[in-house]
Structure formats: C-alpha cells, structure tokens
Symmetry: C2
Subunit: 214 residues, 2 copies
DNA sequence: CAAAAAAAGGGGCTTTTCCCCCTCCTCAGC
DNA sequence: GCTGAGGAGGGGGAAAAGCCCCTTTTTTTG
C-alpha cells in the first residue's frame, strides 16, 4: 500500500475517473474512493473507519455541494484535509470554500504537477495556497467602507431574490405581504448598498454573488 | 502504433492530461496531442500533416472556443470528426455545436466506458448520439411557432448582451449606433421570441443560456 | 425583375421604475 | 420618560420601459 490515501468527490465521472488514473500513477498516493457528491461522502464516512489523508473536493455538485460537504467534514472529521478542486475562479466561491474549512483551492486548468505539489503540501504543511487564492484573501480585506462587508439583512435578501425574477415590484410586494412603497424602500436601500443604478444591476449582483439560484 | 489517433482540445489542463492517461489505456486509441484552445488546434493543423481520426473538443475555452474551432475544422478538414465534450447540457449549446459540424456530444459526467463507446461509434458510424442529444434535436422541432427554433441573429445577440448590462436602452442604442426606436424593436422581437415579459426576463435568459459572460 | 422579408426608424400612449423627502410606529437603551 | 434606530408606509414627479401600429429602405430570393 502506498503512503497516502485520497478520496475524490466530483460529479463529473469522466473527470474523476481520469483523475483517479492520473493520481494512481503518482507513487506516493493511491485513490481510496471516487464519489459523486457530498451525500455519498457522508455515507462513505459512516460506513468506513480508515479515513483518507486528503479529499479532493469539487464545488458544484448535485444533491450536496462541496461547501456543505466541507463544513460537515470540518465538524465531524477535522483531521481529514480538504483540497478544493474547481473550475470556478470567482472570489466569493474561493472564500466560501476556505471559510468552510478547505485547506487549499486548485483550479481544474492547472498542470498535474501542480496538483501533486498541492496534495503533498496539504499533507506536509497542512495548507496549500496558490497565488490566485492569496489574492482573493487579500481582496476581502480591501479598504472598502471600513467595518462590515456588504451584508444583507434577511428581508433584503428575500427581496433581492424576488427582484431577480420577472415579477414587477407590485407583485413582489404582494408576495412579501408588504406595500409597494415599502418595497420601493428596500429597492433604494439595496441600490445604495450594492452600488447599482437599476434593477438590472441588482440582478447581476445577485447572480454574480450566487445569492440567487437560476 | 495503435489503430486510431485522437487529439484533445480543452483548456482545463488537469482534465485533459488525466483524460489522456485514461484514453491511452484503451488499446485501440492513442493521444496524438493535447491542446488548450481552438487557436492552438489550428496552429497544430498548419504544422502537421498526419491528422487524427477524432478530436475531443471542449466548448468553453479562452481565445477560441469549441464552436468556432469545429466550424473551422468542418471547412478545412471535414474528414476529421469532432466529438464535443462539455459539462454544459444546455440545449442551445448542444445545437450550436452540432450545427457547427460536431458528430456527437458527450457530457463530462459520463462513465469512461461511454466515452470509449462514443469514440468508436464516431469512427465506425461517423456519428454518436446519446439520448440527451436526441432529445435536444427533437425539442428544436417542437410544435411551437412552426419554423425556426430560438436562434438569435447576430444583431439580436449583440443587443441581448448589452441588455444584460445596467445601461439604459438609450445608452444601448448609442452603443450600437442605432436609434432608440430601433432598439425598442429588437426588445419587442426578443420578448416575443424568448417568451419573456420584461428586461429582467431577458437578462435571466441570457445568463441561463450562457449567451452572456458575467 | 418583382415580391417578400428583414432592418431601421417613428408616433403616441400606459405602466413601471426610479428618486427624494416625509410620517407613523415600535422597541432597545440610556 | 426621552431618544434614536429601523421597519413600514406614503406623495408626487421625472425618466425609463413596455406596447401597438405605422413607414421607409435595404437585402434576399423566387
């Protein structure tokens, strides 16, 4: 048996199987399991007792995504290290993943050598940061407005989700059981808070920040 | 040398390298080259004379995407068969790719066995259709409005992209060097064609169908 | 060439969106 | 008990979006 066991969690079977072949060729690692989503991962952990050293975790997956799965792992098996592996290079996604407890973040367009390096670093140093990730972390602390980042209140988020719909504000008002004028207030508040000039800007923000599901 | 040569075109190096390993394990195929985008593919064809039997083509790539590359291949090397390989299962993308001349369409979440079958089918029968693709083709002929599917003209697409921006229609008009009234015409035409009732619907459509980049 | 279709532009109208400034109520905290 | 913050609601108006019906020009095509 090789030194380190690894589990791949990714819903793209072709990719995960191909990746398994690639990693099995590295003499220091071997693939312990290939799973399709977070739910399968939890089931695997409930049915097994010998845990892997590293989990290569995709982020966008059906049923249970990588962020939730990473949170679960951090709660129940904090010694198993998660290395996020995604083609999504949006800053918010990277941050969410790191906040959930991932020890590193790799993009799928990297060279296999980098992956090998990344896995080794996570095992040895407990952490692996690429330049891209470092930049994202720095960006969250940019001198923007001082105290808090753009944090929406529950009611504002609810409105934003409805604004990303083809409903008129009047319809949104009745959906939220509020007067159209109150909705008008939420609208203005969000315009200012998110620095947009019209409803399209609101929709674009909601989608970019993944606050709304399409 | 093995029977059939294959070229992989995909910007996700980790995936393409892993896939190369996978396919090299199939005894009937060998990988002739692994390229990162459509432009590299054209350059490769200009510098080589022994062409592959099949090209596994990703769709979303920087510089030159899979659709354009497939069109170029169809024009210049119609004997080389393109098998589209994407995680994008949107109907419009599938249709665009088949219209560009792809002989089949596979999703990245398939099992390696299916890939092997697909490549073999494309080589032997010249074509490979999964159920998903067949459905898409059927859907374009749904008894909707008679003639054409939802295919946007270049000018309409240009307008749609600008509509997915926080610009006003007046600003869009001057961007496209048209009168606001003409823009109004495009708007109405798109509302009808895409079955939406306001600009938000337009934005949502554009993003869902990945016609606009965020 | 003529007919048809597509592209461009317009008039006039209603609804919706956007903006600013104002009131009432409630509840937490000196 | 007063005060201030925040949620809910409102008046009024300008601008943009949406709707229908119409003309002219260019391009395509039988």
């Amino acid at each position: 048996m090789k030194q380190h066991q690894i589990i791949i969690v990714d819903d793209h079977v072709l990719f995960s199987q191909a990746l398994k072949g690639l990693i099995d060729d590295f003499e220091e690692f071997s693939i312990q399991a290939v799973l399709g989503n977070g739910k399968e991962l939890i089931t695997w952990f409930e049915e097994n007792t010998k845990y892997p050293a590293v989990i290569l975790m995709d982020i966008n997956m059906p049923i249970m995504d990588g962020i939730e799965a990473t949170k679960w792992l951090n709660d129940h098996h904090p010694d198993v290290k998660v290395l996020a592996l995604s083609m999504d290079d949006h800053e918010t996604t990277i941050i969410s993943m790191l906040r959930a407890g991932a020890k590193g973040y790799l993009l799928k367009d990297i060279h296999p050598k980098i992956l090998r390096q990344g896995i080794n670093d996570v095992i040895e140093k407990g952490i692996y940061y690429t330049e891209r990730v470092t930049n994202s972390i720095l960006n969250t602390y940019k001198p923007d407005n001082g105290a808090s980042a753009v944090l929406l209140k529950p009611r504002e988020l609810e409105f934003l989700k409805l604004a990303c719909t083809d409903k008129t504000y009047k319809e949104i008002a009745s959906d939220m059981c509020l007067s159209p004028k109150t909705i008008d207030g939420y609208r203005e508040a969000l315009f200012a808070k998110l620095e947009v000039r019209n409803r399209i800007g609101l929709v674009l923000y909601g989608i970019k920040e993944k606050l709304v599901v399409l």
